[in-house]
């Protein structure tokens, strides 16, 4: 029986929905940062599977929804990048103050756009799941979703309000245009200055060459970090369903959890 606590965490602007699974003999903590917009829904099932696997290896797992998203309080229109980052930082600081156990971050897809230097300084390692550090491209894809929705009979993007407080609606997500600008300004450079363990899961077929843009991102991330690349040749976890999960990813991740907990246990 998994020991699960469901709670509302005191976020900076409102309560954040959290699910915490705490093993009896905890050796490390893992904070899952949800990716943005539709990616959060696409990855929810896989993140739950990962959290349960972590729990099984003695790692406390914490899943939460950003302010204005999922089951957390607030509206997306009242959210901004700085607020989401502060909410993560507050949780990290509290984890750090609570116990000396190692803290890891799990960052799938666009979740890496929320990463800051301060977060990296508070963690012992990060797990990157097909990360896309190119904020400009992420925002471009989001805007394309609105264009595509127009083609397929959905609502076209709408802009309202004065420029400074302009509101946009893309595929049902209503937000300030400023949030998209903030996300578009994010890039990988921050990772290069830190010397922490970085576990990068890349979905790539065995004989397939990495695309130039992915290769560039990995090279940048490996400047000063200890980068461990895990190649996954399986269903893409962001396209997975309950019936079709990326088993080999879960197996590799489980093996990583096991290695981390073994080294944590040795270190104490």
């Amino acid at each position: 029986m998994v020991s699960t606590d469901v709670e509302f965490y005191h976020g900076n602007k409102g309560p954040l929905f959290r699910i915490i699974r705490t093993p009896e003999n905890m050796v490390a903590r893992l904070l899952f940062i949800a990716p943005l917009f539709e990616q959060a829904n696409q990855t929810r099932h896989h993140i739950t599977r990962s959290a349960i696997n972590a729990y099984g290896q003695g790692i406390q797992s914490i899943i939460f929804d950003h302010f204005g998203t999922g089951d957390s309080h607030g509206e997306l229109i009242d959210a901004n990048l700085g607020l989401w980052q502060q909410d993560i930082l507050c949780q990290l600081r509290e984890l750090k103050a609570k116990s000396p156990h190692a803290i890891y971050l799990s960052l799938p897809l666009s979740a890496v756009l929320l990463l800051t230097d301060e977060m990296l300084a508070l963690t012992d390692g990060i797990m990157l799941l097909q990360p896309d550090f190119n904020g400009k491209r992420f925002v471009q894809q989001l805007k394309r979703l609105a264009l595509a929705a127009g083609l397929t009979g959905g609502n076209r993007p709408t802009n309202t309000g004065a420029e400074a407080e302009q509101v946009v609606e893309i595929a049902g997500y209503v937000m300030k245009a400023k949030l998209l600008d903030e996300l578009a300004g994010q890039h990988i450079n921050k990772l290069a200055g830190f010397n922490i363990d970085c576990y990068w899961f890349e979905w790539q077929e065995k004989l397939e060459l990495l695309s130039p843009s992915r290769l560039k991102q990995q090279t940048l991330a490996n400047k000063n970090n200890t980068l461990f690349i895990h190649q996954i040749d399986d269903v893409k976890f962001w396209l997975a369903t309950e019936l079709q999960v990326a088993q080999s990813f879960l197996a590799q991740e489980l093996s990583l959890f096991s290695t981390l907990t073994a080294s944590e246990a040795e270190g104490r």
Binding site: E38, Q141, K143, R144, L145, L147, A148, A149, L151, T152, G154, A171, S211, P212, S213, R214, V235, K236, L239, Q244
Partner: protein
């Protein structure tokens, strides 16, 4: 073989490779169809229920990654995403 024939053969090979790669991407994004369903004439936009806006944008992203090309917003049209063939034409234009 004349140089014109050689050029034509290379172009045809390139088109076949592009189509094969596109079908591979489509199978990954829309796995509910058997592999035999996909061919150069398979219609996409408006013909496959699963080919919704999310699938379309995912496909665009995957194509850009795979072929190392960049689409313009103007390229996102019903005509370009009508079938595997029209999509292959679009990719080859950008390559």
């Amino acid at each position: 073989m004349t140089s014109a024939q050689a050029f034509e053969q290379t172009t045809e090979q390139s088109r076949e490779q592009t189509i094969a790669q596109l079908i591979k991407l489509l199978i990954a994004i829309i796995p509910s169809y058997d592999e035999s369903f996909w061919n150069v004439d398979t219609e996409l936009f408006g013909a496959i229920a699963e080919f919704d806006s999310m699938a379309l944008v995912t496909l665009i992203g995957e194509i850009e990654e795979s072929f190392d090309i960049d689409f313009d917003d103007d390229d996102i049209s019903a005509e370009n995403f009508f079938s595997v063939a029209s999509l292959a034409d679009l990719v080859l234009e950008q390559s």
